[in-house]
């Protein structure tokens, strides 16, 4: 499972970086979205992968990380998702404005 997750994060990061370096604004948005997915998965996995374990204390089960999954990365990733989502929305608005003002979807505002 670790290998699958690592591969997924790697593929997402690679595609994200490649798209970020492309000259069109839509590719920029997709790239930053993919990159933020990769980062979110990375944060999620940093507490260690645990199958079928809860993040919230249950009566009768000793309160240590052998019996639970680490809840903090889940809280962190929630915050990161929300912020990343808002920033991507803002980027979309700016890109639309740029498209309207320059008449092109090139990041430099002029066709090369």
């Amino acid at each position: 499972m670790e290998a699958v997750l690592a591969l997924a994060i790697g593929v997402l990061t690679g595609s994200g970086v490649w798209l970020l370096l492309r000259p069109r604004t839509f590719q920029l948005v997709l790239g930053s979205s993919l990159l933020s997915y990769a980062v979110n998965l990375f944060i999620f996995s940093i507490g260690g992968l645990a199958v079928d374990k809860e993040a919230i204390l249950v009566d009768g089960i000793p309160a240590d990380l052998n019996h639970y999954t680490d809840p903090l990365p889940q809280a962190l990733v929630l915050t990161a998702i929300v912020i990343g989502f808002a920033m991507t929305a803002l980027l979309l608005v700016i890109i639309l404005a740029s498209r309207g003002m320059t008449g092109t979807d090139h990041v430099d505002g002029i066709e090369p």
């Binding site: 990159l35 990375f42 990365p73 962190l76 912020i83 990343g84 980027l91 700016i94 990041v107 505002g109």
Partner: protein, 546 residues
């Protein structure tokens, strides 16, 4: 006054954040228009925040580091705020610039688009929070708040240049935020904590497992901070963005690069100070700082537009601070903290001055590209007229000379020449660096490189700003006297006066900065204050039972 501070004290720490947040919310509820009222609210909030910051600075100088538990949980679980000399210093600087920017914008620029004043308050909120927080992830959240506000402020006024610069600015900073998250996640994964004081305590343990992961995490985090600080080669987004921003917004942006520097100071002195990770990356920081300062100084020399020049000067200042941090010397850091204050004020001052100068050179018609800033779209209840009502312009005879003198003072300030405080800061940095050379008595090339870069970048900035000054003030055709409104003149004079005050009070100010640096290098006061903070007992009868 004293009893008021005493009685409110642990709670006063969170006041700058709350003050800005509440005033931004109130102004947002008021909707569009009613700009006079918004100026009053914004200015009141800024002045109040400035006085609170000054009180906090005095308090922390007297009592040392104080931590605050906003959620009243015991320390390892609480997301804490902590106030020490460095954060108090940065708070005072932030709110000083905020006050000047709000007042300056009230002359004209806040009419160039919607929601200038709420955005400015949110910017101040994000900055205050970033300087106060003692938690790495909370630092990320405040970074995002100040960045979101800065996106809005950069777009304020609209126009093609600003929107184009925003695309890059937002894209680069989104990527930087991703790096920040990756770095913070790695550090959490290895150490199991994000509280800066606890991180510091854990990393200083004699044997740290996964040493390489910590190095990687710290390096990725540092790259994110270097990006915000405008370090070469991650700073090509900066000058188009700052040069195209509206002048009051650009004046506020002058401190944004210092947030990156601040975060790097925290990272170096708290987390990478002792134990196996001690001194990690110091030489890299020094090298990148020197290259940044020199290349940015060349940037000022090579740019034709004065606003672009001003934005490169911001980078010179950040590069100088980074290289001073890279020396990892307590005295050098103390002097660089003193240098930080007037040099940031100088950058803001330059952006504000250039606005008046550009308007004067353009004559009565304003050529800057701000589609919503023209007389036809202005609401009727505002009696500030674009042509300059006699009531609001200051028709004093020597206004050209005053403007030229202000520009000259600004040039001297940014180049670091006597008698201005940046000179004292640079001299103190040089003397501290040379002192460390004598103390260690091994011909250390790093100190010489640092000193040479400091002097060379100052010279380049001096040459390029002098050239601009000659072009603006000496090679002129017939032109009217510049019209300066009272609300523009007052913040300019106040900022200039503040640098003058820093010369007069250079001794106490320098010792304040040195005390802040000493407490950073001691680490123990910060760690003890943050980890030793105790929650207050609950007033309810169930209090204390958890």
């Amino acid at each position: 006054m004293t009893w008021l501070v005493e009685s409110t004290m642990p709670h006063l720490i969170v006041a700058p954040v709350l003050l800005a947040m509440v005033s931004a919310a109130v102004m947002l509820l008021m909707g569009e228009g009613r700009r006079t009222l918004k100026v009053v609210i914004g200015l009141t909030s800024a002045l109040l925040g400035l006085s609170i910051s000054c009180v906090l600075l005095a308090w922390t100088h007297q009592h040392g580091v104080v931590a605050y538990l906003p959620g009243n949980w015991p320390p390892p679980f609480e997301i804490e705020l902590a106030l020490d000399g460095l954060s108090a210093l940065m708070l005072v600087l932030t709110w000083t610039l905020g006050t000047a920017a709000v007042l300056f914008a009230s002359a004209r620029w806040h009419r160039a688009g919607v929601h200038f004043h709420p955005l400015m308050q949110l910017q101040l909120m994000g900055l205050s929070g970033a300087f106060l927080t003692a938690d790495v992830f909370n630092l990320f959240v405040f970074f995002e708040i100040l960045l979101a506000a800065s996106y809005g402020l950069l777009l304020h006024g609209s126009g093609k240049a600003r929107v184009q610069a925003s695309v890059r600015y937002v894209a680069v900073n989104l990527t930087g935020s991703s790096l920040f998250l990756v770095g913070a996640a790695i550090i959490y994964g290895v150490t199991g904590t994000l509280n800066m004081a606890e991180l510091s305590a854990r990393l200083s343990g004699s044997s740290v497992a996964n040493r390489h992961l910590i190095d990687a995490g710290a390096a990725i985090l540092a790259v994110a901070f270097l990006l915000k600080a405008g370090a070469w080669p991650l700073n090509f987004w900066l000058s188009p963005a700052y040069a195209s921003a509206t002048p009051p917004a650009a004046a506020m942006f002058a401190i944004l690069t210092k947030v990156g520097v601040y975060a790097l100071i925290r990272l170096s002195t708290l987390m990478l100070a002792v134990g196996p990770v001690a001194g990690f990356g110091a030489d890299v920081l020094l090298g990148f700082g020197i290259v940044t300062a020199l290349l940015a100084a060349l940037g000022t020399l090579g740019s034709q537009s004065a606003s672009v020049q001003a934005s490169w000067v911001v980078v010179v200042s950040a590069g100088t601070l980074l290289s001073a941090l890279g020396l990892r010397d307590e005295k050098v850091l103390g002097s660089s903290l003193f240098y930080l204050v007037p040099s940031t004020i100088g950058c803001s001052l330059l952006f504000l001055l250039l606005d008046i100068i550009q308007r004067w050179r353009a004559g009565t018609t304003v050529v800057d590209e701000a589609p919503y800033l023209n007389a036809a779209l202005e609401s009727q209840d505002i009696n500030l007229d674009e042509e300059g009502e006699p009531l609001f312009t200051m028709p004093f005879p020597a206004s050209t000379a005053a403007l030229a003198l202000a520009f000259l003072a600004c040039t001297l300030l940014l180049a670091g020449l006597p008698p201005l405080p940046t000179f004292i800061g640079k001299a103190a940095m040089l003397s501290a660096a040379m002192g460390s050379l004598v103390a260690h008595s091994n011909g250390d090339g790093r100190v010489w490189l640092f000193s040479a870069a400091l002097l060379a970048s100052g010279l380049l900035v001096l040459v390029s700003l002098m050239r601009t000054g000659i072009r603006i003030f000496w090679a002129e055709a017939e032109r009217d006297r510049p019209r300066i409104r009272a609300s523009e003149g007052v913040p300019l004079l106040a900022l200039l006066g503040l640098t003058g005050a820093l010369v007069v009070a250079a001794g106490p100010a320098l010792s304040l900065a040195n005390a802040a640096a000493r407490s950073l290098f001691e680490r123990r006061p910060y760690i003890e204050a943050v980890l030793g903070a105790r929650p207050r007992p609950s007033p309810s009868p169930m209090g204390g039972q958890r």
